[in-house]
């Protein structure tokens, strides 16, 4: 018989089989009856001798089929019927699971896209960031980016290395493109030869920028991003070879990068070549990011050793000018700390994501515990059905399997719904995520995520199905038949599973709530830090750059900026205006340099500390809302008169001269060969890099300084952020008037980074607020699920104990006693849960230490408050069923017996 034939003739086979067995029994009975037994006795004896008829038939049928699959199908059919019979239960359980799985899937898709997937470059594992630190360089040590790479370092590294296939340096810039419709500021990445080669992504059109393109006085060349090409040129394939005006210079387009190409983690419009004038390079100028593709098989340690080997070559090959000691840099202890490019891209976000993933995992567990509880109650209600099935010959394994199939089905259906939840969740996460969340554009639900969801559904399904299945499908299930129908008071033992679940839920909810509480405290602490500006909502920012090619003469640059400032200040509703090379927290690459204090002796060759510096216009402290601690602000005659004056931050003043008052009239310089500059004002400390970081010592230069850093006559700051304080900040009308103000001065000036200070501030807090929101959501979910758990268990016990309570009341117990008894039960579970939860939280919150600010991971206040809150709410959840217990009418309760 063929396999297929068998499949079709199966029904007949089964019929034959049962008929045959029936005949067998008949024959036996007849024989026994013939031997003198009564017919009834004979039937019983025949059945005893034969064994379990159903099981035998089933075993016999199993010979013909693929038993496990078919049994499974039968269980699935049965499960569907069982779930359909109880739609309320199914809906509640499915929703609980769907929310849990949805939240976890959403976060996993983010974790997967951001942390797990390799970067979108060929053989991305070979790509490294040339990170290096300089612990010996004061002021540089706490520098997030380490010591960047100077152009001379780049030449040394790229020419002498033995471990890299290609190596280059890059930085970002803002360029002005004119002559194409409106003048536009575009985002540019400036790359040296070796960078595009290292990334290894072929251009869509044309060619890469090459060594020949970076000659300082050669023809200007540029590449376009796919997006810019589409936006400005409509995807015209003839664009290669055309000229556009970039920073007022005619520049040839040599290529277009393909769609989806991102530069490390930067969106860009143009790729421009660096233009290093090799003959004029010095050792310093640490302003570039290094990137390289290591040779196959080279480890990070080998690459680090290679760089370390080249540092002396670098110091021997270049100098900082006559009279300086190139080996002074040995004191900086420059140390290569090469890291995978992916790590560089991901940065500090991985911690946040893992914490969020972990908390949502806990929520999932709580959800599972809830569903387990529901299932326990349900299985209890179905004891009779299970007992009947056992009596009819169902094996123990078969029943466990059936219950498991049901719960796994629940899990899977929850998972399907969960994917829908996750889809919404991912959009929410992307919208809400830290603005600097790396690889944001890559986040999506992919196959890996779906695999995760399926796995999670199966796992959770079998997890919450296992306990009820094991507990109630045991061999003793047949006992249930006898007692079914009569409501006995349920033994303590049968409540234990549910109570343990509730305790676990309370414990996990406590952990989550404590984490959320710590984040709230962090957030509050961050908000109390003086950011160095006031009323950020009413501070409008706008960045304007004046290219060298448009206005060359320095005094004219200054006058143009001054003119813009006057026009801005004249706009109705603008109270004050000023400009600065950057506002706090704007996130532009900071400028650092050495500062010498008059009267302090520096050993020969010793480098004085590096300090953060910026340029600010007169009126800046007033407009921004930064307090002047002592002395005075710059005045325009200081600026135009090129007076050697400077302001410093309070911490710098204290460090150098003891107090802010003492600093006034003292002098400092950026180079001992240059004139001293007099300190005329001290400004409050400003946390430039965000309120969670220590405020750096800052030197404030006027916008125009004579011979600053020995760069010859007054150098203006060409790209500045204008700030205007106005009630109308952020409104479209104000922005229009500000744009007109700028363009009325010079129609070719592009604008960028138009935003309010509040947006900048929020963005710098994004990591903390994102974590806060996520933990808040997780905590709230945990709290609600935990409450449902407690409420469910207590009200179930109350309904089970109705008779007992009735008896107690009949025997004279007061309502209050009953209330107390029930509350006590709830309080006991809650307290045990809280104690366990505190223990777990003490261990777990340590993992989020780096996310906290102004509060320790073991903050007793938070722990106490959360514990109190949880106990209070839990008692509230117990109170409703407890009241119901108190109101039990003894007569009614006893009548049903």
């Amino acid at each position: 018989m063929s396999w297929l034939g068998r499949l079709f003739s199966r029904r007949r086979l089964y019929k034959d089989l049962s008929e045959e067995i029936q005949e067998h029994l008949e024959e036996k009975i007849e024989e026994l009856a013939a031997g003198g037994m009564s017919r009834k006795e004979a039937t019983a004896a025949a059945r005893r001798a034969f064994g379990n008829v159903t099981l035998t038939e089933e075993d016999s049928r199993n010979v013909w089929r693929w038993p496990s699959v078919e049994e499974l199908l039968a269980d699935v059919r049965y499960g569907v019927r069982a779930l359909r019979r109880n739609p309320m239960f199914t809906a509640v359980a499915m929703l609980t699971i769907a929310i849990g799985i949805g939240a976890n899937t959403a976060v996993f898709s983010v974790v997967n896209s951001v942390l797990l997937k390799p970067l979108n470059y060929p053989k991305a594992e070979e790509l490294v960031a040339l990170h290096q630190i300089a612990p010996g360089a004061p002021g540089l040590a706490d520098f997030e980016n380490g010591l960047l790479i100077s152009p001379s370092m780049y030449f040394t590294y790229s020419e002498h290395n033995q471990t890299f296939q290609s190596l280059g340096v890059w930085t970002t810039d803002i360029s002005n493109v004119t002559g194409l419709e409106e003048p536009e500021q575009v985002r540019a990445v400036v790359v040296s030869d070796g960078v595009l080669q290292a990334l290894g992504v072929a251009p869509r059109l044309g060619r890469w920028l090459m060594a020949a393109d970076q000659a300082p006085r050669g023809p200007q060349r540029v590449m376009l991003s796919y997006g810019y090409w589409q936006r400005r040129f409509g995807g015209d394939r003839g664009v290669v070879g055309r000229n556009i005006t970039v920073d007022s210079q005619s520049t040839e387009i040599v290529g277009v990068m393909p769609k989806g190409f991102r530069f490390v983690d930067t969106d860009f419009d143009l790729v421009e070549p660096v233009q290093f004038d090799r003959g004029k390079l010095i050792l310093a100028g640490f302003g570039f990011n290094g990137i390289a593709r290591s040779r196959p098989g080279v480890t990070l340690a080998e690459a680090n050793a290679d760089i370390k080997r080249m540092l002396p070559i670098w110091m021997d090959s270049w100098s900082n000018g006559p009279g300086t000691d190139p080996h002074a840099y040995e004191k900086w202890k420059i140390t290569p700390m090469i890291r995978p490019l992916k790590q560089q891209v991901i940065g500090n976000v991985s911690e946040v994501l893992w914490v969020v993933m972990g908390t949502l995992g806990l929520v999932m567990l709580i959800a599972c515990a809830n569903v387990t509880n529901l299932l326990l109650v349900r299985v209890e209600a179905r004891q009779q059905e299970l007992a009947v099935r056992t009596a009819l010959g169902a094996g123990w394994g078969r029943i466990v399997c059936g219950l498991q199939v049901e719960s796994v089905m629940l899990g899977l259906m929850g998972g399907v719904l969960g994917v829908a939840v996750a889809n919404g969740g991912v959009h929410l996460l992307v919208a809400m995520g830290p603005a600097n969340l790396p690889r944001l554009s890559e986040i999506s639900l992919d196959w890996r995520t779906l695999e995760f969801t399926v796995l999670l559904s199966l796992l959770s399904g079998s997890l919450f199905g296992l306990i009820p299945a094991l507990k109630y499908a045991g061999p003793k299930a047949s006992l249930a038949l006898q007692s079914a129908g009569r409501s006995i008071s349920v033994s303590q033992e049968r409540h234990r599973a549910r109570s343990i679940l509730v305790v676990v839920q309370v414990a996990m909810a406590l952990v989550l709530l404590v984490s959320a509480g710590l984040m709230i405290r962090t957030f509050l602490a961050l908000r109390t830090v003086d950011p160095g500006f006031a009323d950020a909502r009413h501070l409008q920012l706008m960045r304007v750059g004046i290219p060298d090619s448009l206005i060359h003469e320095t005094q004219r640059v200054m006058r143009t900026q001054n003119e813009i400032l006057d026009k801005l200040a004249a706009i109705p509703g603008v109270q004050s205006a000023a400009f600065a090379s950057e506002m706090p927290m704007e996130g532009f690459d900071s400028d650092w340099d050495t500062i010498f204090v008059e009267g302090k002796t520096y050993r020969k060759g010793e480098m004085p500390p590096l300090h953060f510096y910026k340029h600010v216009s007169p009126g800046f402290p007033a407009a921004a809302g930064a307090r002047i601690i002592s002395g005075r602000d710059f005045r325009w005659d200081d600026v135009y008169g090129l007076r050697p004056v400077v302001m410093v931050s309070e911490n710098l003043a204290r460090e150098a001269w003891g107090t802010a008052e003492n600093a006034i009239g003292k002098r400092l310089t950026e180079d001992p060969g240059l004139p001293w500059r007099e300190v005329i004002g001290v400004i409050q400390d400003v946390p430039e890099r965000g309120v969670q970081e220590k405020a750096p010592a800052i030197v404030y230069w006027p916008p125009l300084v004579e011979n600053l850093f020995g760069r010859g006559p007054a150098q203006p700051t060409r790209v500045v952020t204008f700030v205007a304080r106005s009630e109308r900040a952020g409104t479209e009308s104000l922005l229009r008037e500000m744009r007109q103000a700028v363009w009325s001065v010079s129609s070719n000036l592009p604008l960028a980074s138009v935003r309010t200070m509040q947006e900048v501030y929020d963005k710098s807090m994004a990591r903390s607020s994102f974590t806060l929101v996520m933990l808040g959501i997780a905590g709230a979910m945990a709290l609600v699920l935990g409450l449902i758990g407690i409420y469910g268990v207590i009200s179930y016990t109350v309904s089970q104990r109705q008779r007992e309570i009735g008896i107690r009341l009949a025997l004279g117990a007061q309502g209050g006693d009953v209330l107390q008894m029930v509350l006590k039960q709830g309080a006991k579970m809650t307290l045990v849960g809280v104690v366990i939860g505190i223990g777990a939280a003490l261990a777990l919150t340590r993992l989020m230490t780096n996310l906290l600010f102004g509060v320790t991971a073991h903050d007793p206040m938070t722990f106490a408050a959360v514990a109190a809150l949880l106990i209070l709410i839990a008692l509230l959840a117990c109170y409703i069923p407890a009241r119901r217990a108190m109101l039990v009418d003894p007569i009614v309760a006893l009548r049903y017996e």
Partner: protein, 113 residues
């Protein structure tokens, strides 16, 4: 209980006995039970039910075939009959069983042979 025979015998023993009995005389399930009981002088008590899964296995492997017929007691029964393949299978099984038995005997009574 239901698996007594299979537990006490080795796997395939029941099938072997069924085949052996059928070689002697095609018969139906109930008769098979009686025959085996009788031939073994009641040494082997098989639970009657366990016969049927075994018969189904043999049917599936086409070592026996079955057809409806009428028994000597005039009842409608399914009569099983050995196929050629079944006969060959039985021979192989028996000879391998005998070898095994011999081996076991030697171990249990060393030095006697």
């Amino acid at each position: 209980m239901k698996k007594t025979v299979q537990r006490d015998l080795f796997p395939g023993a029941l099938e072997m006995m069924i085949l052996r009995t059928l070689r002697q005389k095609p018969s139906h399930g109930y008769a098979l039970v009686q025959l085996i009981k009788r031939t073994s002088h009641d040494l082997l008590q098989i639970e009657e039910g366990s016969l049927y899964p075994a018969l189904q296995r043999l049917l599936k492997e086409e070592l026996v075939k079955a057809e409806w017929g009428v028994s000597s007691t005039n009842r409608r029964v399914r009569i099983y009959r050995l196929t050629a393949a079944g006969a060959k299978h039985l021979e192989r099984e028996v000879s391998s069983f005998e070898r095994m038995l011999e081996g076991i005997t030697r171990v249990l009574a060393p030095g006697e042979s």
